[in-house]
Amino acid sequence: MAATVPFAPGVEEEGVAHRTKARALPGEGGIWLFIAGDLSIFSQLFLTYFYYRAQQPALYSAAQQHLDQGLGMLNTALMLTSSLFVALAVHAARRGMAGWPSRLYWLAALCGVGFGVIKIFEYGAKISHGITLTTNDMFMFYFILTGTHMLHVMMGIGVLLFLANYCRGTGDGRFTPAALRTIECGSLFWHVVDLLWIILFALLYLIR
């Protein structure tokens, strides 16, 4: 039976529940449905941006000169690092490494907060130079795309803090298969926030 379910309650190593060799999606079906929907909506936004960009490439390129690639790079590094911490937190939870999942989720959340602070700084710099949503089409896309992503970041930080607290609850570091699935679902959401930023960074900051 163990080979037919994502997590087999009966299969334990030194008392710690872990993923079996069965090939199954991590998390639960519902989170993958949400991820598919989110990626579908963002894909349409990316394509809409490129469609309008192709109408006025000179205007978009000129406007993009005002975007700070250095801050974009720093934010990308923060996102990638937070994603690493989240991946390691899942591994630590499976291995029953008491205390580590919670610590790693805290570190990931800190990276997320750092991302948000940099974004606020970036928005502030734009607004102080009179650049807003209505300045031109490029900046309309910039604020809408990065703003929608920022909402994901804020929700994601909430998820990471929830997971940090959730993992603190088990003193011996052992998680039931159901608890591991909860951990995986929250972690998957954060990885989506990361991968959306990877594409946004390329489209908005790098391609001119």
């Binding site: 999606l25 490129f50 690639q69 490494m97 390329a202």
Partner: protein, 88 residues
């Protein structure tokens, strides 16, 4: 703890950071002589980065193969559509 951090995930993270620097360099003319060439390079590198995040961090590499094929299909379709819109 050492085995936790010295892991495949950490290696993937290092590759992702390097790819970020590489795509920035492409945007500044490294390896390409034109904005169009840079666009192709940056789109390709970025979609490979997304693939790595999904295959490794989101663990689709260990999921049923169909899941990873769906991801590959999505990324190729998105890449082709983006480049078509850029060059049309």
């Amino acid at each position: 703890m050492r085995t936790l951090f010295w892991s495949r995930a950490a290696l993937v993270w290092a590759v992702l950071l390097f790819a970020t620097l590489f795509s920035w360099a492409i945007g500044h003319g490294v390896g390409t002589g034109s904005a169009a060439g840079a666009c192709i390079g940056i789109v390709c590198v970025s979609l490979v980065k997304v693939y790595l995040v999904m295959a490794e961090f989101m663990e689709l590499r260990e999921a049923p193969p169909a899941a990873l094929w769906v991801v590959r299909g999505w990324l190729v379709a998105l890449g082709v559509a983006l480049l078509w819109l850029y060059f049309r």
